[in-house]
Structure formats: C-alpha cells, structure tokens
C-alpha cells in the first residue's frame, strides 16, 4: 500500500460565482487518522472533499502530500480512493467488475486483479453477489461494493462523502461499525464527511466542524462533545437546548445569566463561561437534554437555578422518556426515567459544569460570515 507521512491543506478555498463554498481550510492529516468533516447541508463539506480528490479545481490555496504539491494533479493521478454519497457504482458492471475497474485502469495482470478483487469482496462479505449488477443489490450491499471498490486500490487516503445517508436507521448502525472495523483493520487514512454528529463522534479520531465554508472547530470527539467553542458547535454536538440570555454577573469561569421570556421573567442560571464574558453581554446558553433533571415540585428545584415550565410533549424512548417542556415561547428538551403528566408543571435543573454559556456572536470564534 502506497502511504505517506502527512497531508497538508493550506488556505484551501473554492468559490462558485463569487460565493465562497469553502474558504481558508488549513488542516494537517497524519497517516492512519480518521478525520470527519461535520456540518449542516451546504456548509461546504462535499466541496472540501472534491477539492482534495481533485474533482474540483481549487480557486485558492494548495494541497501538499509529504511536502509535494498535488493540487494540480488530475484525480486519477493522486491515488486516493473515494466512496460517494449515492455510491456511484457503475450500473452496467457486475459487482466484481466494479471492484476490478480501478485495477484494470492500472493495467495490472489479470491473475493479480482477480486475486485482489476476491480479497476485497471477501472483506466486505459480498462473496455471494459477485455476479450481480448494482441494481440488484440492497442499499447496504451497494454501500459495501462502493467501499470495496475504493479500498481494493490500497489508496493512501480514502475519502467518504456521507456514505451512510441513504441507508435506513438499523443498517446505518451496522455499516457504521463496519466502516470503523475496516479502518482499524486496514490502517487506512480516512476523511469522512457527514452531517450526523453521532456518526462523526463514533467514527472519527478528529472532527472538523464547518459553517458556511469556514472551519468552526477542530478537535477530538471528546473535546467537541464536552468543550464546544461556540454555541454553533454545541448545537451540532447534541446540546439541543440553545437559549438566548443575558449575562448578569461573572465570577472566574462561571457566569450567571438571566433567561428572558420565562414565566416570571427572572429565571437565572449559573453556567460555565466559554470565552470572555462580562455583565450585560448577550449570550447563548447550551444544555443537553440528558443533563436536565426534571422534578415536579419547585421545592426540589434548586431555587434560582430551576427553570419552571409545563410539560407539552412526552415521547417514549425505551428506558427513558423525552420530555418537551414549554417555558415561555421556547420548548426545552429533557430526558427523564419517570413519565410526567402532559400539561403538568415541572422544574428543570442542570449541574453548573454542564451548562455552557457562549457569546452570542459567532464571529469572535470564526471569520466573518459571508454575505451571500
């Protein structure tokens, strides 16, 4: 397997008709790493991947592989493998021919091709389906053909563009485990694009969160999950409750904030300040549903730190229940093991270290938003 020490992206950018789809991407990837690009639809994830693959010419910056510029090479000479969102299997070729395609392009001898194709197909457990056309396979099977087709070339880098987004929930889980297993067993370097934080967290060694074509945060799953640097990232990392508030006072890295619009106007929360804050600042408070405790009496609620509200939705979720609590205009999401009454009054509390307080503006953390 051809390999490399490091892949470096320097100020990589791509514009479409005057609008930056991707800008100023700086990233260094070490061999064997699994990096996920995460962000909502249209944030530039696919653009980044296509630029790396050479399928889209860059409009700015350069890409270096072990110090050599590769951004002017055509895709077929970069030696990367790619798994596409819709798989992009060759519909007129059987499974084995799909997998063999890249090897044939390299002009390898037949026997060698056959052997490697067989190995790759075994790897993804499709031995029984080698003669079928892609149209005759299920989504998960197609997905595996796509992976086999990419890895059979033993590429130095595998790029995956939302490879699981077309699968149904159960299959998605299985295939996720499968990808992780392949990555670990083959030692591939992988760049993986997704808009699903769970997927990104569970697969990657390092995450890159994008917004409007610009990087918001880069870090390990743990860093992103526990310490997002902006409410935007927090929102993406499962902090389903993002509440606008105003700083009342700060002390050390703790901040007391007032939530507007709650029933009696004066609910105060204490949380961990992320970034420099001072009294009067507009902020966003981020809290995970599972960090809320739900109690049905104010007494249990810890005074000023408790948010009062009325249960408006209760969803069964197996061992736990998801509760939607209406407080003022906003609906808060919480989880609880015991079912509250719909319409009943409840109080929500969260431990101080699990309440994150972010500056309202995202610009402090990131470059200015593109005026499209």
């Amino acid at each position: 397997m051809s390999t490399f020490e490091s892949l470096e992206l320097r100020g990589v950018g791509r514009r479409f008709g005057g609008v930056d789809a991707l800008a100023d991407l700086d990233l260094t990837i070490k061999a064997g790493e699994f990096v996920a690009l995460l962000g909502p639809s249209g944030c530039g994830k696919s653009t980044a991947l296509n630029c790396l693959a050479g399928l889209l010419p860059l409009t700015h910056g350069e890409i270096l592989l072990d110090g050599k510029r590769i951004d002017t090479l055509p895709p077929e000479r970069r030696g990367f493998g790619m798994v596409f969102q819709s798989y992009a299997l060759f519909p007129h070729l059987s499974v084995e021919k799909n997998v063999a395609f890249g090897l044939q392009m390299q002009g390898l001898p037949r026997a060698q091709i056959d052997a490697r194709v067989r190995k790759a197909i075994e790897l993804v457990k499709l031995d029984e389906h080698v003669k079928k056309l892609p149209g005759q396979l299920s989504g998960g099977q197609q997905q595996r053909v796509a992976i086999a087709r990419a890895v059979v070339l033993e590429p130095s880098l595998v790029l995956m563009d939302e490879p699981l987004s077309n699968l149904d929930a159960k299959l998605r889980l299985d295939m996720r485990t499968e990808i992780r297993r392949l990555h670990q067993s083959l030692g591939l370097t992988t760049i993986y694009v997704t808009h699903d934080q769970e997927e990104a967290l569970s697969l990657a060694d390092r995450l890159v969160v994008l917004r409007n074509g610009r990087v918001q945060q880069i870090g390990t799953p743990d860093e992103l999950y526990e310490s997002p640097t902006s409410w935007y990232v927090a929102d993406f990392m499962g902090y389903r409750n993002i509440l606008p508030a105003t700083v009342v006072s700060t002390s050390g890295d703790e901040a007391v904030v007032a939530l507007p619009g709650t029933a009696d106007g004066g609910v105060r929360l204490t949380g961990r300040a992320v970034g420099a804050l001072s009294a009067g600042d507009s902020v966003r408070v981020a809290i995970r549903p599972d960090d809320f405790s739900v109690s049905s009496s104010a007494a249990e609620g810890l005074g000023a730190g408790a948010i009062p509200g009325a249960v408006s939705v209760v969803e069964y979720q197996g061992r736990e229940l998801a509760v939607g609590v209406q407080t003022g205009d906003t609906m808060l999401h919480a989880r609880t093991p015991t079912a509250p009454q719909v319409g009943g009054a409840v109080w929500l509390t969260a431990p101080v270290e699990r309440v994150l307080v972010f500056p309202e503006s995202l610009d402090a953390a990131v470059p200015a938003e593109v005026a499209a």
Binding site: L55, P74, P75, F84, S86, A88, P91, M105, A150
Partner: protein, 284 residues
C-alpha cells in the same frame, strides 16, 4: 381466488368514450390511407370502383427500373447512416459539455443549437442551398449529408443533454478516482451508459433524415436523391405525371425501407443494456 377490482377499468365516462371514438376515427383514417396505397400499388387499373380490376406486381418492377430505386435506396441508406454517425459523433460530446458544465455564454450556445430545430427548414434551407451551389456542392452527396446535419446535430444535442444530465456525475468522478483517464471515462463508463440514449437519438435522426424532404430536395439531384425526394419528383416532374400506381409502389417501398431500417436499428437496442438505465424508476 376472486380477483375482484384489481385495476379499476378505465372509467366509462362519456369523455372516455369520446376519446376512444376519436382514436378510432384516427385509426380508420390511418389504416385506410396505408391500405389504399398498398392496394393501389398492386392494382392493374383502378378507376371508379371499390377495388382495382386485376392485380399485378409489375408496378414495383417498373418503379425499380424507372427510378433506379436500387441506387436511390443505396443513397438513402448511405446518407442516413452517414448523418447518424456524424451527428452522434459531433452531438454527444457537445451534449456532454452542455449537460455537465456551466460556462460563460452557455445560453447563447444553447440558443444556437435550438434555432435550427425551431426554424422552418426552408428558411435556412434556401440560403443553405444557395451557398452549397456557389461552393459547387449542389446536387452532390456531400451537400445532402451536410444539409441533413443542420437539424440532426442540434437534435442529438437537445435529446442527449437531458439524458446525460440524469446520469449521476458522481459515476464519472468515481471512475476518475479509480484512476481512469478522460478517454477511459468516456469509453468504459459513459459510452455503455449512454448507449440507450444514443440509440434512441440515432433512431430518431435516422427516421428524420430518411423522411426529411424540404432540405434534401433543395440540394439533391440525380444520383443524390433520397427516396422521398425521388417519389416527390416522380409525383411532380414536369415531363411526367407518372402513373399513380407507380408512385404508390414507390411509397410502399419507402415505408418498407423505413420499417426495415427501424427494425434493424431497434435490433441493436440490446434489452439488457437497458438495465443500465441508471436511475431506478420507482413509481411510488
């Protein structure tokens, strides 16, 4: 097992009956026309009776000799084949670019290709014929082929562009990522996927070229007349007014040629290749 209301019958609304009546009238007319010509072409004499008095096949022989149909059919097939091949070779790459790229001036290019399809053939046919004559190409096979390319190339482009658009561009990207060069992307991946579309476009171009009268007529002459033009000349030649049955016989030969070409062309549409018709067409 009681197969009750599996598919509801086409509702017996008056409107439906109206449609069927109209269709029947159309069918009667159509078959009437065809049968009348066929009967006439075998009739010895047919004046004011239901059927001709006496049957003969001699009109065919006579038509064959008189208009050297062997040569004319050869010309027709040759011209059609040339036009089809050239329009596909020129049109498909252009359609590819139009389907896949956005570039300055794309709308102008699209318009340029749309105009010959929208314009009455005579409008550009007459100046085109005049140009052909002034280049000394009048009444040559070259002129006939060139003139037929004018509507055919845009036609291929206009039909192939949407066809190429619906092929997932990621498939090409995938081929590139597998190390395929541009040529290999075209020959190994795109070509097989485009075959059904190309065949459909080619068949339509074939039919159009064989049937295209207005343009061919303006530049063809003895030795480069296609079948339609030869028939038309037979029907209208100043010296002439050939026997009606002779024209009928030629018309039947024309239609038969057309059908044979269609059937031959359709034989090459390998049904298995239609499996490769990329998009799954689920009706849900």
């Amino acid at each position: 097992m009681a197969v009750s209301t599996l598919e509801r019958p086409i509702a017996a609304r008056p409107s439906t009956w109206f449609v069927w009546a109209g269709m029947t009238a159309f069918g009667v007319f159509l078959l009437g026309i065809i049968i009348a010509v066929v009967v006439d072409s075998f009739g010895r004499q047919w004046f004011d009776t239901w059927l001709p008095d006496g049957l003969t096949t001699s009109w065919y022989g006579e038509a064959w000799d008189r208009f050297s149909l062997g040569e004319v059919i050869g010309v027709t097939v040759g011209v059609a084949a040339l036009v089809v091949v050239i329009s596909v070779l020129v049109g498909v790459p252009a359609a590819y670019v139009l389907a896949r790229r956005d570039f300055p001036g794309k709308r102008a290019v699209m318009l340029l290709f749309l105009l010959p399809v929208l314009m009455p053939p005579i409008t550009y046919g007459i100046p085109l014929a005049t140009v052909m004559y002034s280049f000394g190409l009048g009444r040559t096979l070259t002129a006939v082929v060139l003139v037929n390319l004018v509507p055919s190339v845009p036609f291929v482009i206009l039909t192939m562009t949407p066809f190429i658009e619906q092929i997932n561009p990621a498939i090409e990207s995938a081929a590139r990522m597998c190390g395929a060069r541009t040529r290999q992307v075209f020959t190994r991946v795109l070509a097989p996927l485009l075959v059904p579309g190309i065949l459909a476009a080619a068949i339509l171009v074939l039919v159009r070229t064989v049937g295209l009268f207005e343009l061919t007529f303006l530049v063809s002459g003895p030795g480069s007349d296609t079948l339609v033009v030869a028939i038309y000349r037979g029907m209208t030649s100043a010296g002439g007014g050939e026997a009606r049955q002779l024209i009928s016989a030629m018309s039947v030969i024309y239609t038969a040629t057309m059908l044979v070409m269609l059937v031959v062309a359709l034989r090459f549409v390998n049904p298995t290749q239609l499996v490769a018709q990329v998009k799954e067409t689920r009706d849900d």
